[in-house]
Symmetry: C2
Subunit: 233 residues, 2 copies
């Protein structure tokens, strides 16, 4: 579909293939926020103090509030937001099922690393979008200042219990592996979305080498984040 001769970067409304890709992209981001809300709200139950619980619950609420602007834009593009989200429920739910935290600290690392990885990926994709959609995607990535509390808590816990360091480092690798597995599944299923990245005849995209460099960047940023938490990636 990306071969469409009138494909254009200027407006999501002009080209059906491009519009389909944007609806897919906004749908996956929106469902990602909903499932992040659900997981963070669930993980907040593991909080050792009421203050910690409020911090994680606030992260959950921040994710959820972004769903509304994404849904509005999907409606403007003539699609039903919940229909748009549907294809991504299974892979995202599967990701969360496979990465249910065993304790509070695994939950914190997941919140930080998972959110960061998703945001990096969407930011990469944003480069291939029209300005209006790009702004919306970038805005929905803003995580606020809540992430700082995760860094504090995890670093303090590792300093106190060195065995936690090894377990959480392993956990970070598992999160990355599971995220890649589900991302590949989505890429294989959603032609329009994949075509957005690989470009069209009149639209620049990523060749295999560029795709490889993108994954290298994502991996490097993941390693940086693990480093911020005081963990080896």
């Amino acid at each position: 579909m990306a071969e469409s001769a009138d494909a254009t970067l200027s407006s999501a409304d002009a080209d059906p293939a491009y519009r389909e890709a944007v609806v897919d992209l906004l749908g996956v981001i929106a469902y990602g926020e909903i499932s992040a809300f659900e997981r963070l709200a669930e993980d907040a139950k593991l909080a050792p103090t009421l203050a910690d619980k409020v911090d994680l619950a606030t992260m959950a609420s921040t994710e959820l509030t972004k769903v509304h602007a994404l849904s509005d834009r999907i409606r403007e593009l003539g699609a039903d937001p919940f229909v748009a989200m549907e294809p991504f429920r299974e892979p995202l739910d599967e990701f969360h099922r496979h990465t249910a935290p065993a304790d509070w600290y695994e939950g914190l690392v997941k919140a930080y690393v998972g959110d960061g990885l998703a945001n990096d990926f969407y930011r990469e994709i944003a480069a291939y979008l029209d300005p209006a959609t790009r702004d919306l995607v970038i805005t929905s990535m803003e995580t606020g200042t809540h992430a700082a509390f995760v860094v504090d808590r995890v670093r303090a816990a590792i300093a106190e219990d060195h065995r936690l360091h090894g377990r959480l480092a392993l956990w970070g690798r598992r999160l990355m592996g599971e995220a890649l597995t589900q991302a590949q599944r989505v890429a294989a299923d959603r032609d329009a979305l994949t075509a957005l990245l690989s470009g069209g005849v009149d639209r620049p995209g990523l060749d295999l080498a560029a795709m490889g460099r993108m994954f290298t960047r994502l991996t490097e940023r993941h390693m940086e984040r693990m480093g911020e938490l005081g963990l080896d990636a």
Copy 2:
């Protein structure tokens, strides 16, 4: 403590007994929001559609965002917000344990009726507060437009299944009874908070007759809300 000669309505900072009562009040409201967040996030799992889930999760997030302004004000009054919330955890958790919804519709009725009842009660108390605290309490009561979706969903469900009507009407009475039980428990435990309502030598309060009228008003509004949902109270 309400007999304090310098008790004043003009500032929560002036009189220790009044300040203690305000810290209690803001503490119970704040923990009420946290526990409402937890219950609504949990009940959202029962949603029959993704759209319904987002609506209930949005109600949950709205409750949580109010916690921050309440916590800030408790800090201004020289208290730790989480210490202030602590005495109310057990009665509020107990309320939620005793009123765990059996299905999606019980969850919706609870969200609507429970939130409304709490707001009415805090609005009654607000009349006895200094203007700054009163504004904060009134602001934290604003529920937005999310409640409308509850009315729509419950009315539609009752129209389709008449047996649901009787079950939900009974459920509404149980919610009211359990709320009164826990409110009495709080009143018995928290002298400063109770003294706020009963007044002091230089401060008007509620005598028993006025207290009775207040409960009559709360009950009437509860019945109105049940009526809005299409249920007999």
